[in-house]
C-alpha cells in the first residue's frame, strides 16, 4: 500500500470538506457572532490537516490498488464523521450525541438525538442537512466511480453496469461520469429547492429539505417534521422527489443521453417500480380496511410512507406507529430492500434482491435438472456466478449483522423485540425512523449511551456496504507481508 498516496488524497478531501464548512460558517456570521467557534475551529483543523497531508507533488497516477481504495474510502469516512462531530460538540452537545448526529448525517440515515430542534441554532440545523447532502454525493461518487476500479464483484453492482471492464478502459469515462453525476446531483437539488419554494416553503426551509430529500437522508428542521407545513402540495413534491432520488443516477444519466426508454428496460428500475406498486397497494388497502384513514387519505399516506421507507429517507407525515401491525411489518420488510443501486439509498438494494430472487428461481430449476447449465440476466446482461455468490454472502452478512445489532440493543437498553429490530434494520439501511420506542426520527434521544454506540456502528456498517468494513478489520488487510 502506498501510504503517501492515501494520505495525500485524504488531505485533498479535507480541503474540500473545509470548503463545505464555510457555508454554515457564513451563516453563523450572519446570525450570531459569538458562536463563530462552532465552525471556525473545524475549518482551521481541516485546512491545517489537509494542507499538511497534501503537501508535495501529486503522487496519484490514475491507479489505485484494492487496499488503497478501501483505506481511502473506509478510514476517510471515519475521519469525516469525526470532524463533522466538532460543530455539535463545540456548541455544547454531549460528545456521543454529537458523534451520533454526525454519523447519522453523513450516512444519510436521519436519526436524531438532539432532542428539541427548536432549541438548536439554525446554522447547526443547516449543517445537519448539509452533512446528509455531502454524505449522499460522497456515497454516489465513491461507489459509482472509485469502488468499481478496485473492488471485486460485490461492489461492482453499484455502477449498475455488470461488464467487468478493466480500469484503463473505464478511466477516461470516469472523469466524465463524475462531472455528470455532480451536475445532476446539484441541479436536481436546485430543482427541488425551486419546487419547494414555489409551493410555499421559505428559502431556508426549502434548501434544508432539498438537501435531505436528494440524499434520501430524512433530517428535518422542525420537531414535527413535514407535518408542520400541513400542505398537500409540499407533501406531493417531497413524495415525487424522493421517488426520483431512489433511482440509479448513472441510469438517469444514460437515459438522458440515450432516451428515456432505457429506464423501463432496466431490470432494476422495473423491479423498483413494481416493488413500490405492490407495497403501496398492500399498505393502502390495509390502512383503508382497518379504518385508520378514509380511502383517499389512506391512498396518500400509504404511498408516501412506502416511498419514504423504500428510498430509506425516513420522512413521516402520519403517525405510522398507530397503524395496523400488518402495515408496520410491510414497512419493516421494505427497510431491508431499499431502493436502486447507484443512488444514495441504503439497504440490500433492489438489484441485489432481484438477482437473489432470480438465482433462487434458477436453483429450483437446477433441483429438477441437476446437470443443466443455467444463467440469469439483468437488463439483458449475464450475471456471472462470482457476483451471484458475493451477493448471497452479502445477504447472509446483512442478516447476521441485523440480528446481532438487534440482540445487543435489547441487551444494553432493554428494548422490546420489535423496537430493537426496528432500530437495527433502520440504521443498517440508513432509514432513520423505526417503531415503538423510537417512533419518530428524533426518538433516538431516549436510547442510552451503549445503545447509541451500537446504532452508530450499525449505520456505518450499512453505509459502507458491510464488505468495506469487514475487509478493513480483517487481519489480512493489515498484514504487511501480503502486499497486493
Amino acid at each position: 500500500m502506498r501510504k503517501k498516496l492515501v494520505l495525500y488524497l485524504w488531505g485533498r478531501a479535507l480541503l474540500v470538506f473545509a470548503a463545505c464548512l464555510i457555508v454554515p460558517f457564513l451563516m453563523t456570521i450572519y446570525t450570531s457572532e459569538n458562536r463563530l467557534a462552532e465552525f471556525g475551529i473545524p475549518i482551521l483543523i481541516s485546512i491545517a490537516l489537509g494542507k499538511h497531508l497534501s503537501r508535495g507533488d501529486n503522487p496519484y497516477n490514475g491507479r489505485l490498488s484494492i487496499r488503497e481504495g478501501i483505506a481511502l474510502v473506509g478510514i476517510g469516512f471515519f475521519i469525516i464523521c469525526i470532524l463533522g462531530t466538532l460543530p455539535f460538540a463545540i456548541a455544547g452537545f454531549p460528545l456521543i450525541d454529537s458523534f451520533f448526529e454526525s454519523v447519522s448525517g453523513f450516512t444519510t440515515t436521519g436519526a436524531s438525538v438532539l432532542g428539541d430542534l427548536s432549541l438548536v441554532p439554525q446554522e447547526l440545523l443547516l449543517w445537519r442537512s448539509l452533512s446528509q447532502w455531502l454524505g449522499g454525493i460522497y456515497i454516489v461518487l465513491v461507489f459509482v466511480t472509485l469502488v468499481p476500479q478496485v473492488g471485486r464483484d460485490a461492489m461492482k453492482l453499484f455502477t449498475g453496469e455488470l461488464h467487468g471492464e478493466s480500469a484503463e478502459r473505464i478511466l477516461p469515462r470516469i472523469v466524465e461520469t463524475i462531472k455528470a453525476l455532480c451536475i445532476f446531483y446539484v441541479s436536481f437539488t436546485g430543482l427541488i429547492v425551486l419546487g419547494l419554494y414555489l409551493v410555499g416553503m421559505n428559502l431556508f426551509e426549502a434548501c434544508n429539505y432539498a438537501m435531505t430529500i436528494v440524499s434520501t437522508g430524512g433530517f428535518s428542521i422542525y420537531n414535527d417534521g413535514l407535518a408542520r407545513f400541513n400542505s398537500m402540495s409540499i407533501n406531493l413534491v417531497v413524495l415525487f422527489c424522493m421517488f426520483i432520488a431512489g433511482g440509479n443516477y448513472v441510469l438517469y444519466f444514460r437515459a438522458y443521453q440515450e432516451g428515456w426508454r432505457k429506464l423501463v428496460r432496466d431490470s432494476e428500475y422495473k423491479g423498483y417500480l413494481l416493488l413500490i406498486a405492490v407495497a403501496s397497494f398492500l399498505v393502502v388497502v390495509a390502512l383503508a380496511w382497518s379504518g385508520v384513514y378514509s380511502w383517499s387519505d389512506s391512498f396518500f399516506h400509504g404511498i408516501f410512507q412506502t416511498v419514504s421507507i423504500i428510498t430509506t429517507s425516513g420522512f413521516a407525515v402520519g403517525n405510522y406507529n398507530s397503524w395496523p401491525d400488518f402495515t408496520k411489518f410491510c414497512l419493516f420488510l421494505l427497510m431491508f430492500v431499499g431502493g436502486c443501486s447507484g443512488s444514495t439509498v441504503g439497504g440490500i438494494k433492489v438489484s441485489r434482491a432481484v438477482i437473489l430472487l432470480k438465482s433462487t428461481w434458477e436453483e429450483l430449476k437446477r433441483t429438477i435438472h441437476p446437470h443443466m447449465v443455467t444463467k440469469i440476466d439483468m437488463s439483458g446482461v449475464n450475471v456471472p456466478l462470482g457476483l451471484r455468490e458475493a451477493i448471497s454472502v452479502f445477504f447472509f452478512l446483512y442478516i447476521v449483522i441485523f440480528f446481532v445489532a438487534a440482540a445487543t440493543l435489547s441487551l444494553v437498553d432493554d428494548l422490546s423485540i420489535f423496537s430493537a429490530a426496528g432500530i437495527s434494520a433502520s440504521c443498517l439501511a440508513s432509514v432513520g425512523s423505526a417503531f415503538e420506542t423510537v417512533a419518530s426520527i428524533s426518538g433516538y434521544a431516549v436510547l442510552n449511551t451503549p445503545a447509541k454506540i451500537i446504532a452508530i456502528i450499525t449505520m456505518i456498517l450499512g453505509r459502507l456496504e458491510i464488505f468495506t468494513v469487514c475487509v478493513l478489520f480483517s487481519p489480512d488487510f493489515w498484514d504487511k507481508k501480503k502486499i497486493v
Partner: protein, 485 residues
C-alpha cells in the same frame, strides 16, 4: 410424470398409516376411551383411500421412480397422511377440522405447536397418538416405509433425498435400504433408553413413553398443559435436556461413532459447532437471567440449559415461561430457532452445518476482496465442500428468510402483532412449537384465526421438508410431462 406409481406408493403409505393407527385404537379399546370410535372411523377411511390408490396405481408399479415421482410421493404423503392423521381429533370432537389438521401436521413435522387448550380433558389414547405422530414423523414417514417394506428399486433414493434433512448427501451405508434400517435402529434404541431412564426418574409408564417419543423426535408435545414444568424435577429436566441435544445430532454420525469410536464426534465440524453454540448461548442466557431477573445463578443455569437444548434441537419443551424472560434472552432463543440442530437429525431449522458453511464462505469472500485471484476452499470436517453445495446453501438461506417474511406478512394480516407473527412463524417453520406472545410458552395456537392456522400449517410443512421439496412444485418444468433430461 408417472401418476400411477405415485398413486401406488401413496396408497402403500396410507396402508402403513392405517396399521399405525391401530396402536392407539387398541389402547383405546383396552382403556375404554370414548374416542375408540373416532379411531375406527379414521382407520376405515384410510383403508378405503389406500385401497383405491393402490388399485389405481398397481398396473405400473414395476417402473422405477425418478426425481419427480420421488418429490411427488413425499410431498403428497406429507399432505395426505397428515390430513388423515388429524381426523381422529376431529371425529373425536376434540378440535374443529382446521385445528385437527393443524395438530396433526404439528405432530408429524415434530413441531409440537398445539391448539388443545385443556390437555387434561383429552383421552389418553388420543394423547398417545399425538406423541406417536411425532415419533413417526421425526425420522421421516418415508424412511420408515423404506426400512420396513420390501425393496422398491434404486429410484427410492429420490424419495429418501426429498425427505431427509441436510445439505450434503452423507449416507453412511451404500444402500438406501440398509441406511434406513440403521437409522431406525438407532432411533428405536435411543427412544427405549430414554423411556427407561424417565421411568427410573419417577415418571409413570405412559408419561415416560410419550415423552420419550416427543423428545427423540424433537417434537415437543407433552401430556400436560404445563409441559415439563409439571414434573418439578431437575433430574427429569436434565435427562430430557441431554437427550434433546443427542436427538439434535446427526444420526448417521452416531452410526460411525459405533464403528470408529467416540473421537468421530469431535472431528465432525458440525457436531463440534453445535455443542459450542449450546454452551455459549447457555452461558449468555444464564448471565442475562441472573442479572435481569431475580433468579439465582444455579436456577438460571438450570432453566437456561434446558431451554437452549429444547429450542436448538427444535423440540419445544418448556421448563420455565421464557416469554417473561428479558428481551435479550428471547432474541437468543429466536436465533436458536433459526439455526436449528444438525443435518441428518430429526430437528428443523436452517441447520448448524449450513450456518457454518455460510460463515466460512463469507470469510473466504472477504479474503477474496483483497486477493482477487486466489482460490479459497470451504472445508467441513477436513473435506472441501463443492461449489454447487455452497450455492445451494446460499439460495436455501435466502429462500428461508424470504418465506419467513412472506408467511409472517400473511399471518400479520389476520390481525396479530408483529412480534407475535414473527415469533409464531419462526417457531413453526423451524418446527420448534412454542413461540413468543400470543403463542408463547404457556399459551397455545388456539386463538389464531383459521386462515392463520393454515398459514402456519404451510410453514410447518415447508420447514420440515426443507423448502425445496415443496417449492419445486411451483416450477412449471416439474409438471411438464414431456421427458426427463
Amino acid at each position: 410424470m408417472n401418476y400411477r406409481i405415485v398413486a401406488f406408493l401413496l396408497g402403500e403409505l396410507c396402508r402403513t398409516l392405517g396399521i399405525a393407527l391401530c396402536v392407539p385404537f387398541i389402547l383405546a379399546l383396552l382403556w375404554g376411551d370414548p374416542c375408540r370410535v373416532a379411531f375406527a372411523e379414521t382407520i376405515v377411511l384410510t383403508a378405503v383411500i389406500s385401497y383405491l390408490l393402490i388399485n389405481y396405481g398397481k398396473a405400473d408399479s414395476k417402473d422405477n421412480i425418478t426425481f419427480r415421482e420421488g418429490v411427488a410421493v413425499v410431498s403428497g404423503a406429507w399432505v395426505l397422511l397428515t390430513f388423515l392423521g388429524g381426523l381422529p381429533y376431529y371425529f373425536g370432537n376434540i378440535l374443529d377440522l382446521v385445528s385437527a389438521v393443524f395438530e396433526s401436521i404439528s405432530g408429524f413435522t415434530t413441531t409440537g405447536a398445539t391448539t388443545i387448550t385443556q390437555i387434561v380433558a383429552v383421552p389418553k389414547s388420543m394423547l398417545f397418538w399425538r406423541s406417536m405422530t411425532h415419533w413417526m414423523g421425526g425420522i421421516g414417514i418415508v424412511v420408515w416405509f423404506i426400512a420396513l417394506l420390501p425393496n422398491l428399486g434404486t429410484g427410492v433414493v429420490h424419495m429418501y433425498n426429498a425427505e431427509v434433512t441436510g445439505a450434503t448427501d452423507d449416507r453412511v451405508l451404500p444402500r438406501i435400504k440398509t441406511t434406513s434400517v440403521a437409522l431406525c435402529k438407532i432411533y428405536v434404541g435411543l427412544t427405549t433408553i430414554l423411556a427407561i431412564l424417565l421411568f427410573g426418574a419417577g415418571m409413570n409408564v405412559f408419561d415416560s413413553i410419550t415423552h420419550a417419543f416427543s423428545t427423540i423426535a424433537t417434537g415437543g408435545f407433552s401430556s400436560y398443559d404445563t409441559s415439563i414444568v409439571y414434573f418439578k424435577s431437575p433430574l427429569i429436566e436434565m435427562i430430557i435436556a441431554v437427550f434433546m441435544i443427542l436427538a439434535g445430532g446427526n444420526f448417521a454420525l452416531y452410526f460411525s461413532v459405533g464403528s470408529k469410536g467416540i473421537k468421530e464426534l469431535w472431528h465432525d465440524t458440525e457436531f463440534f459447532s453445535y455443542i459450542a453454540i449450546v454452551v455459549v448461548v447457555t452461558l449468555l442466557i444464564t448471565g442475562n437471567l441472573a442479572a435481569k431477573t431475580g433468579m439465582g445463578l444455579v436456577e438460571a443455569a438450570r432453566y437456561a440449559f434446558f431451554q437452549v437444548a429444547s429450542i436448538i434441537s427444535t423440540t419445544g419443551f418448556v421448563s420455565n415461561d421464557f416469554d417473561v424472560w428479558p428481551p435479550f434472552s428471547k432474541y437468543m432463543l429466536v436465533m436458536l430457532m433459526f439455526i436449528g440442530a444438525c443435518a441428518g437429525s430429526t430437528a428443523g431449522g436452517i441447520k448448524v452445518s449450513r450456518i457454518v458453511i455460510l460463515f466460512k464462505t463469507a470469510v473466504a469472500e472477504i479474503k477474496r476482496v483483497l486477493h482477487p485471484s486466489a482460490i479459497f476452499s470451504v472445508k467441513m470436517s477436513g473435506k472441501s465442500v463443492p461449489l454447487s453445495v455452497i450455492t445451494g446453501i446460499s439460495r436455501f438461506f435466502f429462500l428461508y428468510m424470504l418465506l419467513f417474511a412472506i408467511l409472517t406478512l400473511l399471518l400479520a394480516s389476520t390481525g396479530l402483532t408483529v412480534t407475535d407473527s414473527m415469533g409464531a412463524i419462526a417457531a413453526t417453520i423451524s418446527s420448534v412449537g412454542p413461540a413468543l406472545g400470543i403463542a408463547g410458552a404457556t399459551c397455545t395456537y388456539a386463538p389464531i384465526a383459521p386462515f392463520g392456522k393454515i398459514v402456519i400449517c404451510l410453514a410447518m410443512l415447508l420447514g420440515r421438508l426443507e423448502l425445496f421439496t415443496l417449492m419445486v412444485l411451483i416450477r412449471p418444468e416439474f409438471w411438464r410431462s414431456t421427458r426427463n433430461w
